[in-house]
Each structure stands twice: as structure tokens, then as C-alpha cells.
């Protein structure tokens, strides 16, 4: 067997060489003949009426090709940007989706909302000319806080959403939950904010749009996590071009974290502008534009109550959440605080009664959508903060309170839709406790105290739903698409293999991991296998990469296609070797008849399939199979994280002394890559907990518009991580995979905040726990 490259092997990444030698090809590296460049004219106001746009000075500038506006765009039939998941309010009314044109026509609703585009011979000329476009705005009052946007008299962002309410949705049994809380021996109440984040992949968004008039055909190079979905939406909803006249290529993509799922105004505008000007149009966001225009994440305000009986068993959880959606509904925005959030509020605990109400609200800020974890970090933060708070109030060990309430029998149906298939929550908690040396904490705390420092320890036992998702299930919940994945396995005449996948790698290492499962299955050298993705002309269709789905769904599709290939290979070999199919085995580069010396090389089977000189009767030539895999259920990665911090009481500075993770991801194909995903996720979670926050002023002016004010986690802000696994195999997909991409970002924030609040003895602390915030909390606690 191919043990050094198969499932479980720490195979070094095949894709690394081009990146470490500077040969990666990202969208901004693409430059075509006669390239033109776009720059957007953006609103400096959070909310204003567009009275007129004077483009004459810009048009007159040397090197300017054209200046185009929103009226021209809508006049050409380019459709409004849509949200693809319909949520119904509890009163049965549909969600209030306001119109979003790629270029605003009469009204701008956030700082950065584009009103026109300049196309010029160079990026610098375009940008300078954009400053020459004179827009006459009638400034309107704006609002940035979702809670304030619901107030009477607040500025109205969209006319069709009174009170700025998009939907008022609920899940669970309100009456039963209220009754359970009324009878509870102890009730813990907590108000929480989940801070607004900017995703910040290091590669900013970019688009190169090429219109070929002779074929009436468009090509778009773009920074996308899901090029096929981009093509579908650009075609079906935005009327840019029919699908067969539009090719979308996502070459190397420098991180996404959710923010590159969506199809933004700029990509649409570049395609349209390419047709209008007859030039290839390129646009690359600078970081300041990224802060203004990339979809943000999180931004929830919640009130929660949890009740316990006399034995410290949870009897009910009631949650009221307000979610800030920004100025427009982004592609998956509506699903985030509903089906990706409220359905996870049971956490790892057996809770009979849960009720959650969610109000989604427009504000004059950039749209908010899925960001690494998407809804699940918000749920985990709420559950794990309130459990830890309750443990302190009940004066029980927080680990013990978790053990008291863990689900131990599977499958487990929660009161909020999810049916957990398998898990072992105790195994991860106990492993994390051991690895974190919780037993030695008291000693370390005493040593810190001696040095004038405060030490604290916090837990977080997270669960998430990944591998989205069963298409019929999400369809019944309002999704506009199915969430299967496709794959094609092409065995070439010489026996080398190309895997075409609808998943998209933007850092996850698919070129290695996906090749590993093929190398193992057909016992071939991993060098003979290549992965093809990211081009709608090469791969027939795909749903892309997000929601930790490429392993559980994308690789499952590859397995299904490999099943078909294997069956055909065996048929061919059985025919040529004159044996029974059942006796054929594939190993060591050969296809053999078990127990005999009859064999043919793997490559000979490939050649036989294509020469077709001697195939079984009625068999078609060729060796290429495809599969569409639709998962049977979500997968449920889970685990426990333990964070230990030291706080400097004089400055409020927090140092993370140790961070321990124990995860259950099901089957792990490449532990090196999986650990890397955990490291990165934890760093983003620590970033949310300690450093990061998008801040708008009350009216909607962006305060944190660059790395000067938005604190990104850097190497010296973070510790090394202690990462462990205690796995149960997922019964719902052929490889037993659960997914690992988001766990770190989901599980870590509450562990950090629980540790800091433990250290400072004040539970009233919001994210991010900046030195200022921690110092204030210490002052308030009189320390």
C-alpha cells in the first residue's frame, strides 16, 4: 500500500513550489493585451441621495476611455444583486429585500457604495480621474447600529423595509422554553455582542473581464471561492451573459474566509464595462477599498437566558438576537443568523427547550455575510460564554458543568432542527484538560500573582454543522441552490489521472489532499495525479469551497467517481486477463487477478480503455467517470479548546500563555494540513477575541479603514498552539470526514474571553478584549 501518501499521511504540499518561488498566478497577475483599468467613484457618505453626476472633467482627462454610471448599467438590463436564501418571518411574511444595483442610481447607502466607474489606460490614471467625477449628493442621516436602526424615527435604509426590519424570525418552542425557565432552580442571563469583523484575506479582490465581440463571449478572471456559482448568478440574475457565453476562472486565490463567495458590484461592473468599452477591464481592490466594500462578518447583539434544575442540568435556553445586515442583503446573508446560527444553540448539551428569535436589520454599513464559521461562531460564543458564566454563578467547575450536560447518546435530535449523528464530547474535553495541564494551573496562577500578573483559564466546547449540505433539506429551508458537489476522474491512456473538482482551493491544499485519496485508492504515485479546479470551462459544475465542505462533500464526490472508475477498470482487466471481476485487485501499480501471477499494469488498463481493441462487449471506450454527491446530513465537528492567559493589570494587556485544542474532525486525510487549518482558525478566533473590530461612527463613517486602526493578529500577538484530535468517524459520507476549516475560528473566542474574565474577576467584558477594554473592566471591578 501507498502508506506514505495515502489517508493519514503528512504529505508535503504539491502546490507549494509555485508559491515559494513566486510563480503563483493570482488574478492581479493576469494582464492581457491592450489592458484597460477600472477605478470606482465611491460615496463618501453613509446615506445620501444622488442628485447628479458630472463626468465631463474625468472624461476629458488624458488616458480616460470612458466613465459609466448606474443609469447606463440598469438601462442595459444588468439586474440587481440578490440574496439567494429566502427567510420567512414568524408572521409568514417574506423577507424585505431592498434593491441593490451594482452602481447606485439614485441613492447611496454606505460609505464606499459605488456610483460610477472610470475605465482608463492605467490604474493610476483611472484612480486620479475618479476623483474628477463630481457627484452632487443630498446627504441623509445615517445609522450604523442595528439596535438603533430599529428605533422609531431612525433613518430608513430601504423604503420597503419599515423600521429597517428585514425579517423577524424564530425557531423552537417559545412557550415551552419560558415555562422551563420559570421552573428553573437557577437562571443565568447574559447580554453579548459579537463584534463586527473584516475578513481580510491577504489577497484583495480583483477582476479581469474580457469581452470578445467576435464570439459575443465573456471571460472573467476573479478572486472567487466558487467560480461556477459566480457564473450562475452573473448569468441567471445579473443578465451579464448566458452561461455558455461566460467563462469564469478563479486562478490562485489568496485566501477567502467567506468574503470571496459573493459576487460583488465590481466584478459585475467590469464585465459590463468590458462590453461597453470593447476593452479588457481590470480592477484590483486596494486594502482601503477592501475595508469599505468586502462583506463583513458577525455583528450580533444578543440577550440570552439559560435555566438549570437543582442538579445543574440545563432545562431551557432562550435567545433574542439582532443581526446587522448592513445596507444590502448579500448572497447568503439571510442564512447566517438563522440556519447557520440558531440551529447550533444546543451546543454539545442535552437541552430539551430552546427558543431563539432573530431580527435582521438594515443599517448604513457595508453588507454583512458569512465569514469563517458564519453563524456558528456566534452560537458557540453565546452558549460557551453563558455556560461558563453559569458555572461561576453556580460555583461549580466549568468542566464539570459541561460534563453534567453533555449529549452522550447518538443520533441526538436537538430542538432546533439539527440531528447530531455521532460524537464523543467527553473524549475531547478530557484530552484537552490533560494536554493543557489544567491540574498545574493553580501553581502557575500563584507564580503569576507573585510577578504581579493575573492568570486565568477558560474553556470552550464547541460544535458546528459543516459539509453543507443536503440539497433537499436546505431547499426546504429557503436555499436557492443545491449544495452537492461534483467530481470527474479522468484516467489518461498512459494511466496518469486528472481529478476535476467543483471545490476550490484558496489555501486549503486540495491539490495534495485530494490527490492523496486517489493515490491510496488506486495505489499510484501521487505525482501521477493532478487536481483541476477553478475554471468553468474545464470543470462542468461545482458549488465551491466554504462551510468546511470540500472534504466532506467535495472529496465524497471524488470517491463516488472513483467507485465508477474502479468498476470499469476491473471489468476491463477481467476481460483481458480472462478472470472474474470479483477476483481483480488493484495494487502496486498493477491490476491483478488475486492469488495468481496474472496481471496488467495500471497504465495498460488505461491504454486498453482508449485503444478499445479488446474491451468487453457493449463497453464504451475511454476511462472517465463523473459523480454528483449530495450529502445525507450535515457533519458535526466538535471539540474542546482551553485557553490560558496572563493579564498585566497595569496596562490591561493580555498574553495568551497557552492554547490547547482537541478536535473531532472524523477521518483525517492529511494531519499536517488539518493542523494548519486549526492553527489559522484559532488565530482568527484570537483575533476576534483580542484585537479585531470594524468600527463605524454613529452615522456610518468607517473609523477602522486600514491596518492603522484595524488590528490584525501578527506573529508576536499569538502563541504556538497545542493541537490534538479525538475522532469519531462520520457515518454519513464515504470517507467519514467531518470538516476542519472553521473549527478554530468557532471554538476559540469564548475560550479566550472566559480565560480573561476568569483572570480579572469581571464577567462584563466584550470582544475585542483590547488592553483598553480589559483595563476598563479591571477598573470597574476595583482591581
Amino acid at each position: 500500500m501507498n502508506a506514505n501518501v495515502g489517508i493519514g499521511a503528512r504529505v508535503k504540499r504539491k502546490e507549494d513550489r509555485r508559491f515559494i518561488t513566486g510563480k503563483g498566478k493570482y488574478t492581479d497577475d493576469v494582464r492581457v493585451e491592450n489592458q484597460a483599468y477600472a477605478a470606482f467613484v465611491r460615496s463618501p457618505h453613509a446615506h445620501a441621495r444622488v442628485k447628479s453626476i458630472d463626468t465631463s472633467a474625468a472624461l476629458a482627462a488624458e488616458g480616460v476611455i470612458d466613465v459609466l454610471n448606474g443609469k447606463q448599467l440598469t438601462g442595459d438590463g444588468i439586474g440587481n444583486i440578490i440574496c439567494g436564501w429566502a427567510i420567512t418571518s414568524k408572521d409568514g411574511s417574506p423577507m424585505n429585500m431592498g434593491p441593490w444595483s451594482a452602481l447606485a442610481t439614485d441613492r447611496v447607502r454606505y460609505v464606499g457604495d459605488a456610483v460610477a466607474v472610470v475605465v482608463a489606460e492605467s490604474a493610476a490614471v483611472a484612480r486620479r480621474a475618479a476623483e474628477l467625477v463630481e457627484v452632487d449628493y443630498e446627504v441623509l442621516p445615517g445609522v450604523s447600529s442595528a439596535v438603533k436602526a430599529m428605533n422609531k424615527g431612525a433613518p430608513q435604509v430601504h423604503d420597503n423595509a419599515p423600521g429597517n426590519l428585514i425579517y423577524d424570525w424564530e425557531i423552537g418552542d417559545a412557550a415551552a422554553t419560558d415555562a422551563a425557565l420559570a421552573k428553573a432552580a437557577h437562571v443565568t442571563e447574559l447580554c453579548l455582542t459579537n463584534n463586527r469583523l473584516a475578513p481580510n484575506p491577504m489577497e484583495t479582490r480583483s477582476a479581469v473581464a474580457i469581452y470578445d465581440e467576435s464570439e459575443d463571449h465573456y471571460t472573467l478572471y476573479t478572486t472567487s471561492q466558487n467560480p461556477h456559482v459566480a457564473r450562475l448568478v452573473l448569468s441567471a440574475f445579473y443578465n451579464v451573459a448566458p452561461e455558455h457565453k461566460l467563462r469564469v476562472i478563479a486562478p490562485d486565490v489568496g485566501g477567502g474566509f467567506g468574503s470571496k463567495i459573493y459576487i460583488y458590484p465590481e466584478e459585475i461592473t467590469c464585465l459590463w464595462a468590458s462590453m461597453k468599452t470593447g476593452r479588457s477591464v481590470k480592477w484590483t481592490s486596494d486594502r482601503s477599498e477592501a475595508f469599505m466594500t468586502d462583506a463583513h462578518g458577525r455583528d450580533h447583539s444578543s440577550v440570552a437566558k439559560i435555566g438549570f434544575d437543582a442538579n445543574n442540568r440545563i432545562v431551557g435556553l432562550k435567545v433574542d438576537t439582532v443581526a446587522n445586515f448592513g445596507a444590502y442583503m448579500s448572497l447568503f446573508s439571510s442564512a447566517v443568523p438563522t440556519y447557520l446560527y440558531a440551529t447550533l444553540l444546543s451546543g454539545q448539551y442535552d437541552i430539551a427547550n430552546i427558543h431563539c428569535n432573530v431580527r435582521a436589520v438594515y443599517t448604513n454599513t457595508v453588507p454583512v455575510d458569512a465569514y469563517r464559521g458564519a453563524g456558528r461562531p456566534e452560537a458557540c460564543y453565546l452558549v460557551e460564554r453563558i455556560i461558563e458564566t453559569a458555572a461561576r454563578e453556580l460555583k461549580v467547575d466549568p468542566a464539570e458543568l459541561r460534563r453534567t450536560n453533555f449529549i452522550r447518546s447518538f443520533p441526538h435530535q436537538t430542538p432546533v432542527i439539527m440531528n447530531y449523528d455521532v460524537g464523543d464530547f467527553d473524549a475531547n474535553l478530557e484530552q484537552a484538560i490533560k494536554a493543557a495541564d489544567v491540574a498545574g494551573f493553580a501553581k502557575r496562577k500563584a507564580a503569576s500573582a507573585k510577578a504581579g500578573k493575573l492568570r486565568g483559564l477558560g474553556y470552550s466546547s464547541y460544535i458546528e454543522a459543516c459539509g453543507i449540505a443536503p440539497s433537499a433539506a436546505v431547499g426546504s429551508l429557503g436555499a436557492g441552490v443545491g449544495l452537492w458537489e461534483s467530481a470527474e476522474v479522468r484516467v489518461n491512456p498512459v494511466g496518469t489521472i486528472e481529478i476535476l473538482t467543483g471545490s476550490h482551493s484558496h489555501g486549503q491544499g486540495h491539490e495534495t489532499t485530494f490527490a492523496q485519496i486517489v493515490a491510496e485508492r488506486f495505489d499510484l504515485p501521487i505525482e501521477n495525479i493532478s487536481i483541476v479546479h477553478g475554471d468553468t470551462d474545464k470543470v462542468q459544475f461545482g458549488m465551491g469551497t466554504y462551510g468546511s465542505r470540500s472534504g466532506a462533500v467535495g472529496m465524497s464526490a471524488i470517491v463516488r467517481a472513483m467507485d465508477k472508475v474502479e468498476a470499469k477498470v476491473k471489468k476491463i482487466a477481467a476481460h483481458v486477463l480472462e478472470a472474474s471481476e470479483d477476483d481483480i485487485v488493484i495494487e502496486g501499480g498493477q491490476v491483478k487477478v488475486a492469488g495468481t501471477d496474472k496481471a496488467m499494469g495500471w497504465h495498460e488498463v488505461g491504454l486498453s480503455a482508449y485503444t478499445a481493441h479488446n474491451l468487453p462487449p457493449d463497453m464504451e471506450p475511454g476511462l472517465k467517470e463523473s459523480a454528483f454527491y449530495d450529502p445525507a446530513n450535515f457533519t458535526f465537528p466538535a471539540g474542546t479548546y482551553i485557553c490560558e492567559v496572563e493579564v498585566d493589570p497595569e496596562t490591561g494587556a493580555v498574553r495568551i500563555d497557552r492554547f490547547t485544542a482537541s478536535d473531532d474532525f472524523g477521518t483525517i486525510i492529511n494531519p499536517m494540513i488539518v493542523e494548519g487549518q486549526v492553527h489559522g482558525g484559532i488565530a482568527q478566533g484570537i483575533g476576534q477575541a483580542l484585537l479585531e473590530q470594524v468600527i463605524y461612527d454613529e452615522n456610518g463613517q468607517l473609523i477602522t479603514g486600514s491596518y492603522m486602526d484595524y488590528a490584525m493578529p501578527r506573529a508576536d500577538d499569538l502563541p504556538s498552539y497545542s493541537v490534538h484530535h479525538a475522532s469519531t468517524v462520520c457515518p454519513n459520507n464515504p470517507l467519514g470526514i467531518k470538516g476542519c476549516g472553521e473549527a478554530g475560528a468557532i471554538g476559540s473566542p469564548p475560550a479566550v474571553i472566559n480565560a480573561i474574565t476568569d483572570a480579572i474577576g469581571n464577567n462584563n467584558l466584550s470582544m475585542p478584549a483590547t488592553p483598553l477594554a480589559v483595563w476598563k473592566a479591571l477598573q470597574a471591578a476595583g482591581k
Binding site: E650, D709, P771, L772
Partner: protein, 260 residues
């Protein structure tokens, strides 16, 4: 960026001439602030006069005075055995390694960013800013936010640091930019005690008389405890309000003394 014309004169006179020949010319040193400002269209000088060809780089020690040439990069100061260790430490904490390889002492104090490190070191050591025309005592040099005593076409040639008995620097970084949320430089010499605070003042770097008086009596961290640090005139932003900055001034003053 807007178009600009680049000059790299080899002599100070030529640099002054080049500056005066442009409509809106500016001196360019390490460029770590100016070029970022130009990229964001917040500045668009007609001409850039690079002062790095004027032979102003290098550290000289003579008669107890350490003269740091205006275009000496932070990395050179950070690794210099001739400058006071507190100043080397200050330079080693500016920006990041790449910024320290380009950024210069002259550029930093000519810009006088209220959150920059060097103004604290220059004022806290009681240094003298040497220009092509005159010598300016640090106390007369820093005039407010991004404002100095320099004339438009005046070029810093060096900063002369006197000998001190003790000196220390402590900085608390603004978490995002890594500039000073507050930085405190303390020194003690025959001419007295100086405490310079950067990052905190709404008028830029300033000396704190109360801390100076206390430390003049007793050069110990504990001496800081009794000093009242007023919030008046301090900056407030998302990273720190006036109360927090006032607290940091005290904490960092102690740490600077302890490190001296």
C-alpha cells in the same frame, strides 16, 4: 499616486535649490510615511527632493556627544554601540524590521507624528536638532501635531544627543498600527531630569513636569506613584481614552526608570 518629479542632489545647497524650484516640493528621506501618504492621495508634491545623497548618514561620537546623521536609518541606531542603549532600544521598536531598514531619524522628527517614537527620545534626551542653518534645542523644536520649528526649505543634517547618566524608554504599542499608544522616555543628567511623553498628547510630544520633579527627587519607579497625571490635553481615540493614556504615562514612566 499623482505624478511627481524626483531629484537626488549630492549637496545640501543643491537640495535647497531643488526644493525651492518646485511648486510644491517636499524633501524625501526614508519615505516610510510620505510615500504611503502619497499612495492614498493625501499628498501630491510636485517634486520630491531625496536627501539620502547628501552624505548625512552615520553615527559619530565626540566629546560625550553622539551625533546621529539625519538619514541614518533606525536599524543602524538600533544596532549601534555608540548611542545610549535606551535610544537603541527606542529605534529597535519603531515600525517593523523593513521600516527600520528604510526609515530615518531626520524623516521621523521632521514629520513629528504625535505617535512616533523618536520625538520622545530627542526631547527626553534634551538633544539638539542640527540643520543646514542652525542648531535647535529639542525644547524649541517640537511645536505641535506634525509641526516643527523647521522652515520649509531647512534640512536637518544631524541630531546631537548629549551624554546622560541614566536613560530609559518604555512604549505601549497601539495594537493595530504599532505606533506609540504611549511612549515615555526618561533621562537624568547633569542638567537635570527629563521625561518626554509621545503618543498621548493632543499637541504631540511633551515633557511632563510633575514626573520630572518627582524623579529629580528620587530616581526610582516608586517616585512616580505619587505623581498626579492629568488627563487634560491628552488624546482620545478607539485605542485609548484620556484616562487610559494618563494611566499608561505613569506605568510606562515607572518602567522606563526601571529600565534605565
Amino acid at each position: 499616486m499623482y505624478p511627481t518629479k524626483y531629484h537626488k542632489p549630492a549637496a545640501v545647497d543643491a537640495a535647497v535649490k531643488a526644493l525651492n524650484s518646485g511648486d510644491d516640493a517636499k524633501f524625501l528621506a526614508g519615505g516610510q510615511t510620505l510615500l504611503a501618504t502619497m499612495k492614498q492621495h493625501l499628498a501630491s508634491p510636485s517634486d520630491l527632493v531625496d536627501v539620502r545623497g547628501l552624505g548625512l548618514s552615520g553615527i559619530k561620537k565626540a566629546g560625550g556627544v553622539v551625533s546621529v546623521g539625519a538619514t541614518t536609518v533606525h536599524a543602524a541606531v538600533a544596532s549601534s554601540a555608540d548611542v545610549h542603549p535606551a535610544l537603541a532600544k527606542l529605534a529597535a521598536g519603531i515600525g517593523d524590521p523593513m521600516v527600520r531598514n528604510m526609515g530615518t531619524i531626520g524623516g521621523s522628527i521632521a514629520n513629528n507624528d504625535p505617535a512616533a517614537d523618536y520625538p520622545a527620545g530627542v526631547l527626553g534626551m534634551g538633544a539638539t536638532v542640527v540643520t543646514n542653518r542652525r542648531q535647535i534645542a529639542a525644547d524649541d523644536y517640537f511645536e505641535g501635531l506634525f509641526t516643527t520649528a523647521l522652515e520649509e526649505d531647512e534640512i536637518i543634517t544631524a541630531v546631537a544627543f548629549p551624554q546622560v547618566e541614566r536613560a530609559g524608554y518604555a512604549k505601549f504599542k497601539q495594537p493595530a498600527s504599532r505606533f506609540c499608544l504611549v511612549g515615555v522616555f526618561v533621562s537624568k543628567s547633569a542638567s537635570g531630569v527629563r521625561v518626554a511623553v509621545t503618543g498621548a498628547g493632543s499637541d504631540g510630544v511633551f515633557r511632563h513636569k510633575g514626573l520630572e520633579a518627582a524623579l529629580a527627587k528620587s530616581w526610582t519607579p516608586a517616585a512616580v506613584d505619587s505623581v498626579e497625571v492629568s488627563e487634560d490635553g491628552l488624546l482620545s481615540d478607539i485605542h485609548g481614552d484620556t484616562a487610559y493614556r494618563a494611566n499608561l504615562i505613569k506605568v510606562l514612566a515607572k518602567r522606563a526608570v526601571a529600565a534605565s
